[in-house]
Symmetry: C3
Subunit: 389 residues, 3 copies
């Protein structure tokens, strides 16, 4: 069956290869879902979307190579197919999660350097977990969410800015930016069953994943509404400890959005694996836990492997995030000053509407900081001496 | 073939199961299409989308159970599969149509109660029509559109508010809310061929449905442009009779959007069934009108059943809507006062942009009315003594 | 295999017919991608989207007939299927590209007349290239992009307005219109692999196309970021020669967006065809260059045919564009005056928010110019005597 993935030649077409539709939904989530979600910052919309594009375009290519080396390198060639595109998109997803933790506090060159490192570690972690340890992680709770979140959070810790308050006034949202975040949310919600089931094998595994995701989404949506109605204004779900005690400035809240759910998902996976039996899964056991089905491993052993996989992930993420943070502190990079975080104007130039002809796709030209003293408006220039992270 | 639908185990995978793509498009329509369409109200955007999510998340789960009992209850279990997800989405669609009729005039608890009842009646009506009467309703003209519209309209009649004028100034749209309605419209337009063909069998039935929908959409779009150009400003397509004579306050115009087209579609279905022959459909007759193909029913008989199905639907919808309206009038529910209809602030709290960290997905916390006297702005408080529906 | 395309009856279902998902993505691109992209003009948003709908709805139907006559007319019937919908969407794409060149400078009746002609020429050109010359053009570099761009540019030249400066102030974008252009861009980016691979045969051809498009997109995105950072504000990629020397007013910049890339793609296709060998393509040669695989043509001959196909396209586009321009100059048509270009109010009436009931889908009614002297605001009326193109 693995042959279908190889784009070079298709062997027997009895069962059609994975239709590009499975890939398409993953792709929509990465770009519309993630991309729009981060547009909530009131003056950072073009950076949020623009850097999402930049990072994703880079990560997709680099991970095609990295994951290609790990998974499909034969006879001197990396074989690519729909699975390659999906895996690369997943890796880009992890990078965008990390981006969410440091959103607004880095420049594009820093982001590319982060992706350069993170993609390699993602591929390595995924290889260790899935190929060496035989861990199952269909929705990427460990390989995507936990890894991406803690890589980004540790990196954010290393890049801690004590003077970030200078940009506080820009750290919120306004009506139109909220609208975009809402579009992003809706797209993520709609396409999550497809996202989670894309890497699973056609048939039982895919059905099971899609259905489970679908019911989880509806149930958690209702629970969220109920809980927020009960908790109300005073008891909001803030994360004060993260910033004040641990010095982790988490712009998008990736800890509660990806980190904690990722760990929770991994732990539940430990439990579920430990309880897996032939009776519960029927013929489906082979596609969900093949080693159990073949009798090569007990359910308890699988559960232990799952738990170990979580620790391996946390280690790769933390060590990687620390290393990444140190790299990003290199002085010649394009880190914005503390007073100019969450600000589009440092990196984007809005072209005057009277230039002609007006090309639809090149409204904003990416600039490097330092060339825009005149663009920097009065309010920016008049601030206190700036400190750079 | 029905085995594929069963998520428990797949029998022979020679013909691949319905790809989740068919489900995906239906899902996109329900959430982006319906959700965004109702954002046209200038101060009710977050309620429109938020309550769409709430209602849909609830209806999807409840109808999975209800329809599961009707269609796939065997051996003590409800069997679920892609078809379950699609059918649940269709039921949620009918609930959202009803929501459109009373948009802005009810609180979330009332909506959940409405859905609790409506989902049961939807399932019952669908079972009577499709399983008992052998009626064909691929696009849901009767089961979704007619049912949803008249359920909502009768419910709106029971909830008639003579003093609704107090909220009149909020009942319109502004530029940015129109933009969302436009996005919703475009998504509905694009995905309608998939929506209509999702429940049909792969092959002839699906092709026929997708093609017919596609051509209908293009033709009706052109006709609408032509007609509006001819009719112009003075002869606009208003529905004055509905409100002034029949006391039905129909916020979204679901009568002309779903009610009338639903009935028209059902009547055309009567005609088309009456004219069905083996010559016209070829091998496709079996998938479109199986009872005709097997010779168990004449075309005229099928037509009569279709017509009877329309009446059954109207009865379920009217009786259900009346009952629903009476339930929603229960005094302890969260109905907004006449002067505070179409207003987000009663139910949603916008969090200050300076609270941190800012979690992308929890910008608004659902509140219950009564706890927000201080939120209620001057203009709201200064109004005449409020009457409650 | 071609039988599957025929909606009338399906032969053997061993290999499933092209799923509607392939069509769905093309459809999304045409309506959300193209439609939103052209909303960048600050006061022409409703016209951009509205006329996109109008043109597409018309072109889809007319090209179903035209292409039906060319490709699938048997036994007195035009046979339609999923391929018909995809081909019609592609033709609509070419028409929308041409629309981009003259965006803001024509009225709806002119646009319909342009589409009436262009669809016929599109069908003819496509037939000559694909069926007679055996040219390969999977992504439509010649048949869609080159043809659509140069048809529109030549038409724009014939409709040259020396006094267009009078509308200059409306020819730019503002924040909210840029947001829409950005949404359009993102959708086009996401769905391009599906768009390009939709017409190819399932299996090798489709994989190859999707993968190539995917990698091209990521690589060109990175290159664009890099280049714009290097070029910066002074050296922007303007097209001054087009307007000042050649008198082609190209509103959307379709020359650099579709024209030049279309020609470049065609030339690269010439090169690639010339270098095609059995070794390079393996079994895939048959689906990419069938005449080469069967030994009926040499690679060099195929390359020459590809080049000739480019010239045929340019001729059809130029002659067609000239003829179209002359037709559109007919005095009784609805061309806007020079001072009222890029202006929604000539064609659309915004209904007062207090009219009720408010139907979601009919907010704007299409109007014809001349009936709106009172709508034309002071600033419009007070201008110099208007010249009409």
């Amino acid at each position: 069956m693995a042959d279908w993935w190889m784009g070079g030649s298709l062997s027997s077409p009895e069962c059609p290869p994975l239709t590009p539709a499975g890939f398409q939904d993953v792709h929509t989530m990465i770009f519309v879902g993630f991309g729009f979600l981060m547009v909530f910052l009131q003056r950072y919309g073009f950076s949020s979307v623009g850097f999402t594009f930049l990072l994703a375009a880079f990560a997709l290519q680099w991970s095609t190579l990295v994951q290609g080396f790990f998974h499909s390198f034969h006879g001197g060639h990396i074989h690519v197919g729909v699975e390659s595109m999906i895996n690369a998109d997943f890796c880009a997803g992890a990078v965008l999660i990390s981006f969410g933790a440091i959103l607004g506090k880095t420049g594009p060159a820093q982001l590319l350097l982060m992706a350069l490192l993170e993609v390699v570690l993602f591929g390595l972690n995924e290889f260790v977990l899935l190929s060496l340890l035989g861990v199952k992680d269909a929705g990427g709770s460990m390989t995507i969410h936990t890894f991406g979140a803690y890589f980004g959070l540790v990196l954010s810790r290393v890049l801690y800015r004590p003077q970030l308050e200078k940009s506080k006034h820009r750290q919120g949202s306004v009506y139109h930016s909220d609208l975009f975040a809402m579009i992003g949310t809706i797209f993520l919600w709609i396409f999550w069953p497809s996202f989670n089931s894309a890497p699973t094998t056609l048939g039982d595994g895919q059905h099971r994943t899609a259905l489970n995701t679908y019911y989880s989404l509806t149930a958690s949506t209702l629970s969220t509404f109920a809980l927020s109605a009960l908790v109300g204004r005073d008891g909001q779900l803030d994360m004060p400890i993260l910033e004040s005690k641990l010095k982790v400035q988490d712009t998008c809240g990736v800890h509660n959005l990806h980190g904690m759910p990722g760990v929770l998902g991994a732990l539940l996976g430990v439990l579920v694996a430990g309880l897996a039996t032939h009776e519960a899964y029927g013929d489906g056991l082979e596609s969900v836990f093949p080693l159990l089905a073949k009798g090569q491993r007990s359910a308890t052993s699988q559960a232990m492997h799952q738990l170990f996989g979580l620790f391996v992930t946390l280690i790769f993420a933390s060590v990687g995030g620390s290393l990444g943070g140190l790299l990003l502190r290199l002085p010649f990079l394009d880190s914005p000053p503390d007073s100019q975080c969450y600000e589009d104007q440092i990196y984007w130039e809005v072209r005057s509407p009277w230039s002609c002809p007006f090309t639809c796709s090149s409204i904003l030209a990416l600039q490097v900081p330092g060339e825009h003293e005149d663009l920097a408006q009065g309010p920016l220039r008049a601030e206190e001496p700036e400190t750079r992270a």
